[in-house]
């Protein structure tokens, strides 16, 4: 029965999570949402636990979300921002780790610009590690909050589960760890993922690696989709000219009301934020309260991160 669903010490990615493990996080998150609606928004669950947010890359949204999640579970939360531009990265990292280890944290939440950094850190720290985004690789809590948001809307789509659900992930999936993580998560849950975007912005071997079907035409990619996820055009990660111009990008790949009409009836729109209005999504679509669930994603992010801290502290973090 439900007693051995979550036995992992770390949450490094969606890649190896089973359907049951994902469901165990979603279930806990669904009931933790209630805490966030109370007058006293706090439960004593993680009292005496220490959570360190270690961010080698700026991120106000994710860091705040993890910080609040820890605090609402009564953990002590410390934020550490580390400049990532240092050339002596290896050295700096080891030094930082030694400092951290001395504080004896239970959970360390890490964002790092290099793919796979967390796996290295996990080998050098005793604490449970949560990957809060590593380079272009993974961002598992974003995928989990997306899955929770989709799960909430399944009844509106006349569905009881993820099987056969079609999710169109539109735009720059090449630079997007969100796209990779949600594709892997949906695959585990039995859903179908499409990567829709220009050839230069789709990761190679998308089908083999992520089980994603690739569409190089926006209209075709949206056809019959139940969920449309617009990705932020990550100009800051682009070292060379991936697109001719932002205006042209919007003309071909912007999510507009007309394009959304191609999706399945009742289809809704998601975006991991922050949104670039008039780049990957029109304001009209982003602000459409009937179709856009972007703010629900933020609320669910908090609950999912509370659930992740809870599950990890229940296994390895609670020494």
């Amino acid at each position: 029965m439900g007693s051995h669903l979550w036995n992992r010490k770390h949450l490094l990615g969606m890649a190896d999570l089973s359907r049951e493990e994902i469901q165990s996080i979603l279930d806990a998150a669904a009931s933790l949402r209630e805490v966030n609606r109370r007058e006293i928004k706090k439960v004593p669950t993680l009292r005496g636990k220490t959570v360190i947010n270690l961010f080698f890359e700026n991120s106000t949204r994710t860091r705040t979300s993890f910080e609040l999640a820890g605090k609402r579970m009564s953990a002590d939360v410390i934020n550490m921002s580390v400049a990532s531009s240092s050339v002596k990265k290896g050295e700096t990292l080891i030094d930082t780790l030694a400092t951290l280890q001395a504080m004896n944290p239970d959970v360390v939440v890490i964002r790092h610009p290099e793919s796979g950094a967390q796996e290295f850190l996990a080998r050098h720290l005793d604490a449970a590690i949560v990957n809060a985004g590593d380079g272009r690789h993974e961002h598992p809590t974003q995928a989990l909050l997306d899955l929770l948001t989709i799960h909430d809307h399944l009844p509106l789509l006349d569905r009881s589960g993820f099987e056969g659900l079609v999710v169109a992930v539109c735009g720059d999936s090449l630079h997007s760890r969100v796209a990779r993580s949600i594709a892997l998560g949906l695959r585990a849950m039995g859903g179908e993922v499409r990567f829709v975007g220009p050839p230069g912005l789709i990761p190679p071997k998308a089908e083999e690696a992520f089980g994603a079907r690739v569409y190089h035409d926006m209209e075709e990619g949206l056809d019959g989709a139940h969920v449309v996820m617009a990705l932020r055009l990550q100009l800051e990660r682009m070292t060379v000219g991936f697109i001719p111009s932002v205006r042209e990008y919007f003309a071909f790949w912007g999510l507009t009301r007309a394009r959304l009409a191609r999706a399945a009836p009742g289809a809704f729109v998601m975006h991991p934020g922050p949104i670039n209005r008039g780049v990957e999504i029109s304001s009209e679509v982003a602000d459409d309260r009937e179709r856009s669930v972007i703010l629900e994603q933020v609320a669910n992010g908090l609950a999912v991160r509370m659930a992740v801290l809870y599950r990890l502290c229940g296994v390895g973090g609670g020494r």
């Binding site: 439900g2 007693s3 051995h4 669903l5 979550w6 036995n7 165990s24 279930d27 806990a28 669904a30 009931s31 933790l32 209630e34 805490v35 109370r38 007058e39 006293i40 706090k42 439960v43 004593p44 669950t45 993680l46 579970m73 809870y310 599950r311 502290c313 229940g314 296994v315 609670g318």
Partner: protein
């Protein structure tokens, strides 16, 4: 996961359970000065069932609605490290205000008292009730905290290896079973 062989014994039949609930409801009613102030709160999961059954009796006798809420105490437990890492998590549902109300806290089985301790902590995160009373269907002894029921359907002495739980025999028919490991 290995299945431990266990013997199961019916402690309370469906009709005994029904009769005990009725007796508890009668005692609660005889102590009740202001029915309009009562709120029934069930502790998930077994307590939620008993709370519903009790509330039905109280409503029938009083001829008025009684607000009911549910507490899930998973996030208030004191044994995060020792329990299996995946407790089934239910939802707390306390939408009414509990400030100044008389709370009838309901659980199916009272054992160590730790669940009730957690439930009291959870309850006080929602407000400041006038008083809290505890009603349980079965008091199995073995307390580890100074917590006693105000209303108990049946008091028994159970060994620590025995599991006592509410089970649904048929739809709406509840029994109490005792499971003890073999050997």
């Amino acid at each position: 996961m290995s299945v431990i062989p266990a013997r199961e014994e019916i402690l309370l039949t469906a009709s005994e359970t029904r009769a005990l609930i009725q007796q508890m409801a009668d005692r609660i009613l005889s102590d009740l000065a202001r029915p309009e102030n009562l709120v029934v709160v069930g502790i998930r999961r077994g307590g939620a069932v008993v709370a519903g059954l009790l509330r039905d009796r109280l409503v029938a006798a009083l001829g008025r609605q009684i607000p009911m809420g549910f507490l899930d105490i998973t996030f208030y437990r004191d044994d995060l490290r020792t329990i299996a890492p995946n407790p089934v998590v239910g939802a707390t549902d306390l939408t009414m205000t509990i400030d100044g109300r008389r709370i009838l806290l309901v659980d199916d089985v009272l054992f160590t008292g730790r669940t009730i301790r957690a439930a009291l902590n959870a309850l006080f995160d929602y407000g400041r009730p006038e008083c809290v009373e505890l009603a349980v269907l079965v008091d199995r002894g073995g307390r580890q905290l100074p917590i006693q029921p105000d209303y108990a359907g049946r008091a028994i002495e159970a060994g620590t290896r025995e599991t006592i739980k509410l089970a649904e025999r048929e739809k709406g028919e509840w029994i109490v079973v005792c499971r003890r490991p073999e050997g």
